[in-house]
C-alpha cells in the first residue's frame, strides 16, 4: 500500500487484510489471464507452436506457479462469496470475521485435495 | 489583522449559541465564532434529558415545573424567568423534535418521559415523569440536531476562533459610567487558532454563549475547554457577574475522575449506598430519596464520607447501585454511562455497584441578563446589543441550585430568545464605531504571554488553582477555607503575570490558548470565592459550615460582583446585591 500521508502502516484487522489479499490475488489472476489467452491463441497458429508453449507449463517450476495460481483463484473465489454475503445478507457484517476463517479453512481443504494430485502430475511426469 | 462585519455575532457554538444562530440567521446576517468545532461543544456531554410538562405519560403542567425550579433553586430563582422557561419548555422540546431529534418514544409513538431529580407532581407530592430524553445522550442529540439545522440553514461559522475581547462604546471597568447612560456593544476581537492571526468582528449585536467555567476545579465533569471565557471577558470589561458563588456539584461523578454519570441512572431506579450498604438518601430526603436535588444529594454523599461511611481503600466515595435493574433495561436506557464505568473504572454495572463522588458540574451564576437575554451592566441598565444565553448567563432561572435537565432547557429557551432579540435589535440599531486600536490590548496580552522568555509554567499555576478550589471552595465551605483559597488565588494571580508559554509559534498554539484560559480561570475563581465569603448563609449549591442555615433576611438577594480597576491598575472584586423577583411562590423551608 502506498504511504502517502506518511507514518506507520495502519494496523487493520482481518477485514482489511482480507481486502488486501483479495486485491493482490485479483491483480495476479488478471495478468495470468492475459498471458493465458495469448498462449491459448497459439492453437490458431499451429499445433506445434501451441504444444511447445504449453509444454513449458509442464516443467516443475511452472507447476509450482500453477499451484500458487490455483490457490490465488480459490481464495479470490471463496472470499468473493464472503464479500457477497457481507453485501447481501443482513447479518453478514456481524459474521465477517468468522466467515473469513471459514474461507481460509475452505482454501486449505481445497488445496489439500488439489495439491497432491497436481504435484504428482507435475513431478511424477 | 482582518476585519469582518455582521449584524449579529454569536460567540460559542454549543446548544445556546447554535439555537440562537438558528433564529438570528434567518433574520439578520449572522456569524458564529467558536474556539472549537461546533460538534465538540460540551452540550454534547449532557446525558439525562430535558424537562417539559408535555404530560405524555402522566398528568403534569408547567406551573408545577415552575414551582420545582423555584424550590430546587432554594428560592433564589427569579420567578418571572422560571415561568418563561417552564412555559416555553413545551415548544422548545417540540421544536427539537421537528428538527429531527430522535427522542425515545412511548408505545403510542409520543415523546417518552422519565423521572428526574427534584421534578415533582403537584408541588412536591411525588416524582413525576417530565424529562424528555434520547437514551442517555440527550445533550449529544441536541448538539447534533442543532448543528444539522445550522448546516441546513447554511449558518456561517468561524471554527477554532478564540474570542479574546468584547468592545463596548464605554469603558465600564472603572465603574465611573453613570447609571442610565446608554452603553452599546461594537464588536469582538478574535484570535484564529490555526494561523495565529487577529480578526476584528464589527457587529450590532453580540451574543455570548460560551458555556461554563468548571475548570476552576480539579474534579469536574466539565471539558478541558470550559474555562469561563465569556464570563471573564465581560467581567474584565466592567460587566458584573451574578451569583457566581453558587456552583453545582453533581453527585454522581466517577470516583477520582469526575466523569459524569447521569442522574437518569437514579431516574431509572439506581440507588446510592454507603459502605454499610445503607440507602442513605432515605435519611436525608425521605420523600423522594435518591431523586432529591443535586445539592442535597452531593452534600449527603460528602457527609457520608466525612462520617467514615465511605467505600474503597481510602473510604472516599460511595456506590451507585444498578445491579437490581435488568441488563436489557440498562442497555436501552443508559448505554453510554455504563460504558464509561466499564472503560474508565473497569467496573461492570450489571453486577457491581459503581464508585461515585460529587464532581464540579455547573455554574448557576454568570452574566446577568433580562428574560430577553439582554446583558445587564448593573441592577437595571442593559448593554445595548449585548446578549448572553446558556451557562454563561444568569437569568436567573437556576437560583442557587439547578435542577437536572433544566440546563438543556435553559439553552434552548434562552438561546432562542437571545437569537430573536439579537436579530430584532440589529434591524434598527445603528453601527457603533469600532476604534482602530480595538485589538491592541488583546495583541499585547497574548504577545506578553508568548514573549516572556522564561517564566513559570501555565500548567503548574493552573494545577495549584484547581487544587485549592477543590480543597477550600467545594461542597463544604467555611470562612477559613475560603480565606485560604482567596489568598492562594491572589498569590497565583501574581505568579501568572510572570508566567510564560513554551510554544512560541503562531500556528495552532494551544499552549498560548491555555495561557489565556488560565487568566480567565483565575479571575473567575476569585469572584466565586469573594462571593462565597460574603454570603454568610447556606443555600442551594453554597454550603457554609459556619452558617449552616438559609438566611432570607440578609441574603434573599443575588450577588453582583464587579471587577473594578482603580489607581494601581490591578482589578479588585467589589460586591453589590440585587433583589430576587418573586411572583407566586413565597420562600418556604426546602424539604423533600
Amino acid at each position: 500500500m502506498p504511504e502517502k500521508p506518511a507514518g506507520t502502516l495502519y494496523r487493520g484487522r482481518e477485514g482489511m487484510w482480507s481486502w488486501v489479499a483479495h486485491r493482490v490475488t485479483g491483480f495476479l489472476i488478471f495478468f495470468f489471464l492475459l498471458v493465458h489467452v495469448l498462449d491459448t491463441s497459439l492453437v490458431r497458429v499451429s499445433p506445434e507452436a501451441y504444444n511447445v508453449v504449453i509444454g513449458s507449463y509442464k516443467n516443475p517450476v511452472m507447476g509450482l506457479g500453477e499451484a500458487g495460481l490455483v490457490a490465488a483463484i480459490v481464495f479470490h473465489a471463496f472470499n468473493g462469496i464472503r464479500v457477497m454475503l457481507v453485501d447481501f445478507w443482513s447479518k453478514g457484517t456481524r459474521y465477517q470475521r468468522l466467515m473469513l476463517w471459514v474461507v481460509v479453512g475452505l482454501v486449505v481443504v481445497t488445496m489439500a485435495g488439489f495439491l497432491p494430485r497436481h504435484l504428482a502430475n507435475v513431478f511424477g511426469g | 489583522m482582518q476585519t469582518h462585519q455582521y449584524d449579529v455575532v454569536i460567540v460559542g457554538a454549543g446548544g445556546a449559541g447554535m439555537r440562537a444562530a438558528l433564529e438570528s440567521s434567518t433574520r439578520a446576517r449572522t456569524a458564529v465564532i467558536s474556539k472549537l468545532y461546533p460538534t465538540r461543544s460540551h452540550t454534547g456531554a449532557a446525558q439525562g434529558g430535558m424537562c417539559a410538562a408535555l404530560a405524555n405519560v402522566e398528568e403534569d403542567n408547567w406551573e408545577w415545573h415552575t414551582f420545582d425550579t423555584v424550590k430546587g433553586g432554594d428560592y433564589l430563582v427569579d420567578q418571572d424567568a422560571a415561568e418563561v422557561m417552564a412555559k416555553e419548555a413545551i415548544d422548545a422540546v417540540l421544536d427539537l423534535e421537528k428538527m429531527g431529534l430522535p427522542f425515545n418514544r412511548t408505545p403510542e409513538g409520543r415523546i417518552d418521559q422519565r423521572r428526574f431529580g427534584g421534578h415533582t407532581r403537584n408541588h412536591g407530592e411525588a416524582a413525576v415523569r417530565r424529562s424528555c430524553y434520547a437514551a442517555d445522550r440527550t445533550g449529544h442529540m441536541i448538539l447534533q440536531t442543532l448543528y444539522q439545522q445550522c448546516v441546513k440553514q447554511d449558518v456561517e461559522f468561524y471554527n477554532e476562533f478564540y474570542v479574546l475581547d468584547v468592545v463596548l462604546t464605554h469603558d465600564l471597568s472603572a465603574g465611573t459610567v453613570p447609571d442610565g447612560e446608554e452603553v452599546s456593544v461594537a464588536g469582538v476581537v478574535a484570535y484564529d487558532l490555526a494561523s495565529g492571526e487577529i480578526h476584528v468582528f464589527r457587529a450590532k449585536s453580540v451574543v455570548f454563549a460560551t458555556g461554563g467555567a468548571g475548570k476552576i476545579y480539579k474534579t469536574t465533569s466539565n471539558a478541558h475547554t470550559l474555562t469561563g471565557d465569556g464570563m471573564a471577558l465581560a467581567l474584565r470589561r466592567g460587566i458584573p457577574l451574578e451569583d457566581m458563588e453558587f456552583f453545582q456539584f453533581h453527585p454522581t461523578g466517577l470516583a477520582g475522575l469526575g466523569i459524569l454519570l447521569s442522574e437518569a441512572a437514579r431516574g431509572e431506579g439506581a440507588i446510592l449506598r454507603n459502605s454499610e450498604g445503607e440507602r442513605f438518601m432515605e435519611r436525608y430526603a425521605p420523600t423522594i430519596k435518591d431523586l432529591a436535588p443535586r445539592d442535597m444529594v452531593a452534600r449527603a454523599m460528602a457527609n457520608e464520607v466525612r462520617e467514615g461511611r465511605g467505600c474503597g481503600p481510602n473510604k472516599d466515595y460511595v456506590l451507585l447501585d444498578l445491579t437490581h435493574l435488568e441488563p436489557a433495561h440498562i442497555d436501552a436506557k443508559l448505554p453510554d454511562i455504563t460504558e464509561f464505568a466499564r472503560t474508565y473504572l473497569g467496573v461492570e454495572p450489571y453486577t457491581e455497584p459503581v464508585p461515585v463522588y460529587p464532581t464540579a458540574h455547573y455554574a448557576m451564576g454568570g452574566i446577568p441578563t433580562t428574560i430577553d437575554a439582554e446583558v445587564l451592566r448593573n441592577n437595571t441598565d442593559v448593554v445595548k446589543g449585548l446578549f448572553a444565553a446558556g451557562e454563561v448567563a444568569c437569568v436567573s432561572v437556576h437560583g442557587s441550585n439547578r435542577l437536572g435537565t433544566n440546563s438543556l432547557l435553559d439553552i434552548n429557551v434562552f438561546g432562542k430568545r437571545a437569537g430573536i432579540a439579537a436579530a430584532r435589535y440589529a434591524e434598527t440599531a445603528p453601527w457603533h464605531e469600532m476604534p482602530d486600536d480595538a485589538s491592541v490590548a488583546t495583541v499585547e496580552y497574548i504577545e506578553r504571554l508568548r514573549d516572556h522568555a522564561t517564566g513559570e509554567r501555565i500548567a503548574d499555576i493552573r494545577r495549584e488553582l484547581q487544587e485549592t478550589m477543590d480543597r477550600n471552595a467545594q461542597v463544604f465551605r467555611t470562612r477559613d477555607s475560603l480565606t485560604t483559597a482567596l489568598s492562594d488565588i491572589t498569590a497565583l494571580k501574581k505568579r501568572y503575570r510572570d508566567a510564560s508559554v513554551q510554544d512560541k509559534g503562531r500556528r495552532f498554539n494551544t499552549d498560548l490558548m491555555e495561557g489565556v484560559e488560565l487568566g480567565f480561570l483565575l479571575d473567575l475563581a476569585e469572584v466565586v470565592v469573594v462571593g462565597a465569603l460574603a454570603r454568610e448563609e447556606s443555600r442551594g449549591g453554597h454550603f457554609r459550615e459556619d452558617f449552616p442555615t438559609r438566611d432570607d433576611e440578609r441574603f434573599m438577594l443575588h450577588t453582583m460582583a464587579y471587577q473594578r480597576v482603580r489607581g494601581d491598575g490591578q482589578g479588585t472584586v467589589e460586591l453589590d446585591y440585587k433583589p430576587v423577583i418573586i411572583t407566586r411562590y413565597q420562600p418556604m423551608e426546602r424539604k423533600y
Binding site: P2, E3, K4, P5, A6, G7, R23, G26, F27, I29, F30, L33, L34, V37, L38, T40, S41, V43, R44, S46, P47, E48, Y50, N51, I54, Y57, K58, G63, E66, V70, I73, A77, G80, I81, V83, M84, D87, F88, F114, R117, H118, A120, N121, V122, G125 | -
Partner: protein
C-alpha cells in the same frame, strides 16, 4: 527526558485535496459495475472451477493438455460457449478490478489516463483475440502431423 530521533524516510503530510469535482457523474454506472462484479463473480466461480477441474484434475491433469486436448474440447459447442463466457466475464471482471486499482493508487491525472488507456487496449486485444480464436478454430488443420491432432480428425 525527551529524545529526538530523525524520522528518516517519512514523507511530508500531503496537502489538501482540491474541492470535489462532482458534476455529471450521478449515473448508476458505479452501481452497475458493483453489481456486475458480484454476479459475474458467482458465474466465474462455476466456470473457472469447472475449467480447472477438467484441465488440471481429471485424467492425468496438466500433462494431458496439448493441442489435441484443446481441439477435442472445442469441437463441442458446449465447451466453446463455456470458454467464451469465461473469457468475456473474466476479462470484464478483471478489467473493472484493475480500473478500481488504478483509480485508487494512480494519483496524477496523467498517470491515470495512461494506465487506463493501456488497460483498455489490453482488454480489447485479449477479448478480440480470444473470441476470434474460439470461433475460427480449426481442430484439424490441413498438413499438421496427425499425432498432434484430436483423434476424430480424418487421417490426412
Amino acid at each position: 527526558m525527551a529524545t529526538t530521533i530523525p524520522a528518516g524516510p517519512l514523507a511530508a503530510p500531503r496537502s489538501a485535496r482540491t474541492t470535489r469535482s462532482r458534476g455529471s457523474s450521478r449515473t448508476n454506472m458505479e452501481m452497475v459495475a458493483w453489481l456486475f462484479m458480484r454476479l459475474s463473480g458467482v458465474l466465474l466461480l462455476v466456470l473457472i472451477f469447472g475449467h480447472l477441474f477438467v484441465n488440471l484434475v481429471q485424467g492425468e491433469g496438466i500433462n494431458r493438455i496439448d493441442f489435441a486436448f484443446v481441439g477435442g474440447k472445442w469441437a463441442s459447442p458446449f465447451w466453446q460457449f463455456w470458454d467464451l463466457a469465461m473469457l468475456w466475464l473474466a476479462m470484464i471482471h478483471g478489467t473493472n478490478g484493475m480500473r478500481t486499482i488504478i483509480n485508487d493508487y494512480a494519483e496524477r491525472d496523467r498517470t491515470r489516463l495512461v494506465l487506463k488507456v493501456l488497460l483498455a487496449a489490453a482488454f480489447l486485444l485479449t477479448v478480440t483475440l480470444g473470441t476470434l480464436v474460439i470461433f475460427t478454430f480449426e481442430p484439424c488443420p490441413i498438413g499438421a502431423p496427425a499425432d498432434l491432432l484430436p483423434s476424430f480428425c480424418p487421417a490426412s
